[in-house]
Every structure is written in C-alpha cells, then in structure tokens.
C-alpha cells in the first residue's frame, strides 16, 4: 500500500483571502518580514496498486473531485 500526500492551493493569481488576512495580521503583530502567506489543503490518502496506476488515479481524483481546476491547483507525492 502506498500513501499519497496531496497539496491543494489556489492557483497563482487567484485571490486567496485567508492567506491575505493572516499575512496582514502577522505584519501587524510585528513580523515585518512576511511577504506572502498562502493557505491551502493537505490531504493524505492510502491507496493500493502499482506506482504508475496510483499516479494516474490520484491525478484523476484531484482533477475530478479534490480540486476545482477553475481556481485551484494541486500537487502530490506518492510514498
């Protein structure tokens, strides 16, 4: 069995209000070096099959359900 670690974030250029609000708060608290904060989702999934098939399936799952390609992008690693 393999484990898929999936990271979903808003696409570059899409407004990300959560990150923006946290960023502003951090700067206000004195962390002046913070330049950008982006918040996303992290998903772990256990999955059976050979490596190639897993990659294909996870990719498909991300595209179909986990992320909305209109606004989100995803990345994953299989370990």
């Amino acid at each position: 069995m393999a484990k898929a670690k999936i990271y979903i974030t808003f696409k570059d250029g899409v407004l990300e209000p959560q990150g923006k609000t946290v960023n502003a708060a951090l700067v206000k608290m004195g962390y002046k070096n913070i330049k950008d904060v982006r918040i996303g989702k992290y998903i772990e999934m256990e999955i059976d099959g050979n490596n190639e098939k897993i990659k294909k399936e996870v990719d498909e799952i991300c595209d179909k359900l986990l992320a909305n390609p209109n606004i989100e992008k995803y990345d994953f690693e299989i370990i």
Binding site: V14, L15, P17, A24, N68, N70, I71
Partner: protein, 753 residues
C-alpha cells in the same frame, strides 16, 4: 510597452462576442479602427449583461412609477419610500453561470455583488433572500451544486452579518445543466443619505477602494452572456473567489463615508468592473472620466490595460468625492484596514479616457458605451415567434383518471423535492442576526422589524418556471400575484417588487417570445396590484447544448405592515380549537401542477387561470382580517394544492421550536377529488380565526366578494380530511398522523443537504 494596435481578425471579434455590424459601428463611432483595449471595452459594455440590448425594449412595459417609488430601475438598486423618513432599497440579481462552474464561489460572490449594490446606495443591508433552481436532486451533479451553492450563500451572508430570511428552492430537469442562483438584498437608508452612481463635478478625484485587481473573471460579463459549453466549463479565471470579510469592512467603511457626507457618487465594480462602473457613473452625470491604469492597485504582476479594465475581481468600489476630501476619505478607510487610491478624475468632456505609461490607450465617447438611445448602440429589435411546443401542450382533465388512493398520492407529494421541507437549507443561513426577523424562514413571507419605526417589512421571493413554460403570459402574471399573495398572508400591503428574468438564448425567436409574453404578464399583474418594478436583472443564455431552462422570472416582493401595533401573522396554526376557513374558490384545475408532474409524470397545461381582480380582493381580505386582529394564521395555497397547504399549516410551527397542531377538515364539493385536494387554483388561502370572529371574517370577505368557507377546526395530532363528493354520492378520507407526515416532509430535500 504593450502594443494594442493589433489587426482585429474575425476570430478576435468572435472571441469578443461582437458581430461584423457591431464592429463597423465601432469604427464609425471612433472614426478609426479600435485597438484591442477599446475592443475589449466595447465587447464588455455591449454584452447583454451590461447593455440589456435584447431586453431593454421589452422591459419598458413594466410600470416603474408610483407614490412610493423614490428610485426606479437604472441605478445600483431601486428604493421605495416608507413615508417615515427612511427608504427601503432592494434588488435581485443572478449569478447563474459562475455558480454552474464553481457553485460555492459563484453563489458566494453573487451574494457579495447584490449586497454591494445595496450599500452603495447608502443603505444598510437588513435581509438577503435567495431563489435557487436545480436539476434532478437524485443526481450527484445536482447534489454537488446544491451543496456548493447553499454553503456559498451561507459562507458569505453569515460572515457579513446580514440575515438570509427567506427563499425558495425548486428542482426541475430543465435546470440540470444550468442551475439558477438569484440573490436579493434589502437595505434601509435615511432619505437624506441616498447615494447614486454618479461622477459629478469635473476635476473631482475618482477613488478606488477595496480589494486589489487581479485577473479574475476577465470577460466575465461576456462570459455570463454566452451559453455554457464544455469548453466554457474549462475556461480559466472566469470564477472569482469571495472574500466576505473584505466585504464587511467595505460595508462599514462605505456607510461611514456616506454618513460623513464625503461621497458624491459611488458604485460597485461589478460586471465589466472598472469599465462599466466608471462609464456608467460618468453617463449618469453627463461627464467623462480619465483613468490612469498605472495607479490601479493590482494583485498580479504585469497586468495590462485590457486586463485591468475588464477584471471582475470582487469587493471593489469606485468612489467620486469632492476635490480636497481625499485625505478624509483615506482616513476612514484606513480605520477599517482598507485603502483609497486616486486613480483618475472626472472630466467635462464626455469621454472614457484611459492612460497607461503616460499614453492614451482608450478614448471612447461615453454615450457609445452606455446610452441605449445612441444611434450606434447595438439594441436588438426582435420579434418573438410562438414556440412549436405550445401548440399541443394542454391536456383535457378527462384524460386523467380520477384517482382513488388519495393518501398515497398525498404521501408522495409531501415528500417530493418541490414540496418537502427545506429546513436543512435555511438552517445553514444565519437568519436571526440583526435581531429583526419576526417571522423566520418557513412561512409564506419573512417579516422584518424596523427598529424605532412603526413599520414591519414583509418580503418573499417567488417564481414558477413550469407555469411560465406552459403559458408565458399567465405564468408571468402568477409570478407577480403569488409573490404579492405571500406578502399579504403576513398582513402586509405589497408595495413594489424587483425581478430577475432567467431565460435561454434571446436570439432564438421562440425564447424571445417566452420573454416578451412573460414580461407582459408580469407587467399586467403589476399594474393591477399597484406594485411597480423598482429594480431588476436579466439573465439570458441559460441553456446547454441539450436544452434551455424553463423561462423563469423570479419576483422579489416587499410589503409594509404599518401602525403602532404592527399586527402580523405566520402561516402555521397557532392554537387548538381555532376555526379553519378557506378563502377563495377551488376550480377543477390540475394542469401544470406538482400533482400532474409527480403522480402522472406529465408537464402539461393548462396553467391555472388567474383573475387579477379576484386576486387583489383575496389579498385585501387577508390584509384587513389580520390588521383587525381577526385572522390568527394565514397561508396561501400553491404547490400541491389544498391538502399540502393544510399539512404545512399543521407542521411548520414545529420548525421553530413550537408545536405541531393537527386539523379536522370536512370538504363538500362537486369537483374532481384530485383537483379539490391537489389542484393549484390561484387566489386561495387558508386562514384561522376564533369561533367568535368567524362572522366578522365572513363580512370582510363578502365585502370584497371573496367566498369564505368554514372547512374545519385545528387540534389534535392528526390531519384528517373528510371529503363528501356530492355529485357522485361518494365520500373519501385522508387520515394521517402528523409525525408520519413530518417524517415524509423531511425526506425530499433535507436528506440531500
């Protein structure tokens, strides 16, 4: 340095949804070929969404004036007078296409947009209503859309702190690929603080406030005016992300600016963003604008003039203040953690002038973008053609066998998606914040208190696409009549309404026919009920390659309950032992009903007839009876007919921690039992009174020429309906435990939400 002087090919024109004739007119207007920035500007402003080029001539049929109208259509929102020093601003708007692509963000930004339309008028939003249409609830696609849309509305409205007080959710196959998301907002404004979207006073600064500009929804306006194709579904950057926290800050900051008299004109950057807001503000004031793209606050690198002008990033506003007041404006915004940036100024010359890197990149006469009477404006003069399908759409009642199993039919209807309880939807909306919601969701209309005034607002949003599909004119009338009826059931006098007209592709003459006739029907009803249209929105192109949606005009009605004691009632039975009275006459009408669809699987006419004089008389009877304290509860009869309405009267109190109360009913009638119990004859209501007030009610009814029939009594924990069918010497009985009905009522939709 951007080079915008590119060759405008046919392909580029097509991408911009402009035809050859429109392109040639652009050349005539400018006296030269447009560059790509200007073409983008024309494309957005001449899209249906901004120009109303197909709908404007038809919309003229609506009555828009009246003694209560302070502001009619054409502004960010309409306003009605209360004659108590305040105005009520309201408007409904669609966000159908974005919601089909990304239901959560699409619905959320839809709520955001309509809220801004209200608070830019200087009004504090006090209520949100929503009207939703989806396809078959049994499909995963619909469940996904429903879930996304409802949580999107909840996310936005709840965060901003405006209660979502009423709404409707309808499921019909025709919306399978095109869900409808219409959101309405009501606000309260001090009459002397009303603001408009005007750019007055040459030399005054144009200030940009709110969120940064990104590449969001570029071509959103033209996107909202094109049919949804596979390719469209994949189009990038067409959906914006909602930021309700930013909206809340904008709301407070804007109202503070207006309160301190720092605003000359203000407008939301909605569809076609900076372009439409600035040009419309200039047009209304008879001025022009000069904007420097370099000064516009941007979220992304290397955005060019084309992108900045057409971006539809949310939570942005354009404000014109008096020259010299810039610092004061900035100070208030800073308090709310926002910024104001001067991006240009009002000019005398009636032009839309855009600069980038010191060079002019767009130079267009304002009128060409905004004035529908301008000679090159692409107004479409169209003729509708009666659709083929209407020729054979009506059934004869005799073709439908009179049923025997009325309990079974009732059970099926009460658990069907369009009739069953929607509490799991509105439970997700904060409907109590602001502590004004006197009648919570689950009655015909919401009742909202106006603190400190002898006034309650009553409001309802309503539309029946199936009726309009089967008979556009009558369906249009009923849409207005039913929304007004809902409001009058609370005891309120309907005053005015806003409408959202959701249709397919208007270039199709058959669709255009539906549009014309529906508007004519609505306009007729509006005149008869004395309820003018004060604002609205048209959403065309709601179709997929498979089909167009049912023509769906949605009416958002607002009414007043005035006077010291502010008497109002709810739809559910209040006490045991009250007398139940049916107001109005039941006719042998089963066409277009939920019964026909759910039980006989038929979508056929004829749509129930409606006599507007009768309708008005019914409403008058209810309003009078409630005002005099005679009527204790009132509920109109609509989807599912008398039997369903009675069940709703029994059960809906339980939704708010009150008791369910049963009823014992005796009906005597000569008409078919299915029409009697489940038919949707218009202009009827179920009211309850104390025994000692029955005569007084009958007197009010007869004065208004409305038949009032005592049909039973409240009490117990069952709904019992005895039917004596005189003509056939026949009697039937429906006798069900309220708990059993409630369980069924909770299944149709709630289990999917």
């Amino acid at each position: 340095m951007n080079n915008y002087d590119i060759e405008i090919t046919d392909e580029i024109l097509k991408e911009h949804n402009l035809n050859k004739e429109e392109y040639n007119n652009i050349i005539k207007i400018l006296g030269r070929k447009p560059n790509i920035v200007e073409l983008g500007v024309f494309s957005a402003m001449w899209s249906e969404h901004c120009s109303y080029k197909h709908s404007k001539p038809v919309l003229k049929k609506f009555p828009t004036k009246g003694k209560y109208v302070l502001q009619g259509p054409g502004e960010n929102a309409g306003i009605i007078d209360t004659k108590l020093g305040i105005g009520i601003a309201f408007k409904i708007e669609s966000h159908n296409h974005p919601s089909s692509v990304e239901p959560f963000q699409g619905a959320a930004t839809g709520v955001g947009g309509i809220l801004r339309d209200i608070f830019t008028m200087g009004a504090r939003p006090v209520a949100i209503l929503d009207s939703l249409r989806f396809g078959n609830i049994k499909t995963l696609k619909t469940q996904h859309l429903l879930h996304g849309v409802v949580s999107g509305i909840a996310f936005y409205g709840n965060c901003v702190g405006v209660p979502t007080v009423a709404g409707e959710t309808v499921f019909e196959d025709s919306y399978q690929d095109n869900c409808l998301v219409n959101a309405m907002t009501i606000g309260i404004v001090n009459k002397n603080k009303i603001k408009k979207g005007i750019a007055k006073g040459a030399g005054n600064p144009i200030m940009y406030i709110g969120a940064l500009t990104g590449r969001d929804g570029i071509h959103g306006a033209s996107f909202a005016s094109a049919e949804l194709t596979e390719e469209n579904q994949k189009r990038r950057s067409s959906v914006q992300v909602a930021d309700p926290f930013m909206e809340k800050l904008l709301l407070e900051a804007t109202l503070e600016l207006i309160d301190k008299n720092l605003v000359i004109g203000i407008q939301d950057m909605g569809a076609a963003g900076l372009t439409s807001s600035s040009s419309e503000m200039a047009y209304r004031a008879g001025t022009g604008v000069e904007i420097d793209i370099d000064k516009v606050p941007k979220r992304e690198l290397n955005m060019n003039a084309y992108e900045v002008l057409l971006s539809e990033s949310q939570e942005r506003m354009l404000l014109v203040c008096k020259k010299g007041n810039e610092k004061k404006v900035e100070k208030i915004l800073r308090k709310w953690g926002l910024h104001a940036v001067k991006i240009g100024k009002v000019i005398k010359e009636q032009k839309f002038k855009i600069y980038e890197n010191g060079k002019i990149v767009a130079d267009i006469p304002i009128r060409a973008l905004t004035d529908s009477s301008y000679k090159y404006f692409p107004l479409k003069k169209q003729k509708g053609i009666k659709p083929e399908y209407l020729k054979n759409i009506n059934i004869n009642n005799d073709d439908i066998k009179v049923p025997d199993n009325i309990e079974e039919i009732f059970k099926k209807l009460i658990s069907s998606p369009n009739i069953s309880c929607k509490s799991n939807i509105w439970r997700q909306y904060d409907h109590m914040v602001q502590t004004n919601t006197f009648t919570l969701p689950g009655s015909d209309a919401a009742v909202i208190n106006i603190k400190g005034k002898d006034l309650l607002l009553s409001t309802s949003v309503d539309g029946n696409g199936r009726y309009v599909y089967l008979d556009p004119f009558t369906g249009g009338m009923i849409a207005v009549a039913e929304a007004a009826r809902n409001v009058s059931m609370s005891g309120a006098q309907p005053i005015a309404f806003t409408n959202c007209l959701n249709f397919g592709n208007p270039e199709d003459p058959e669709i255009f026919y539906q549009f014309q006739k529906a508007v004519e029907g609505m306009a007729y009803a509006a005149k008869k009920l004395n309820t003018p249209v004060i604002s609205g929105n048209v959403s065309f192109y709601n179709e997929s390659p498979q089909n167009a949606i049912y023509p769906t005009p949605v009416v958002g009605m607002v009414g007043y309950i005035k006077g010291k004691n502010k008497r109002y009632v709810k739809q559910y039975f209040k006490n045991e032992g009250d007398i139940i009275v049916l107001l109005g006459e039941t006719k042998e009408e089963i066409g277009a009903s939920e019964y026909l669809k759910e039980i006989h699987n038929m979508v056929k006419g004829p749509v129930p007839g409606i006599d507007m004089a009768k309708e008005k008389a019914l409403q008058k009877t209810c309003i009078e009876g409630i005002k005099n304290g005679i009527i204790i509860s009132a509920h109109d009869i609509s989807k599912g007919g008398l039997a369903v309405a009675l069940a709703e009267c029994c059960l809906s109190g339980k939704l708010h921690n009150e008791k369910a109360i049963g009823a014992y009913i005796e009906l005597q009638s000569d008409i078919r039992i299915d029409a009697l119990l489940f038919g949707e004859t218009q202009s009827r209501a179920i009211v309850t009174v104390k025994r000692e007030n029955l005569l007084r009610l009958k007197r009010i009814a007869s004065k208004n020429k409305i038949i009032a029939t005592e049909i039973g009594k409240t009490g117990g924990d069952r709904l019992i309906i005895n039917i004596d069918w005189a003509a056939k010497k026949y009697s039937k009985k429906l006798n069900l435990d309220l708990n059993e009905i409630e369980k069924l009522w909770m299944t149709g939709v709630n289990e999917y939400v």
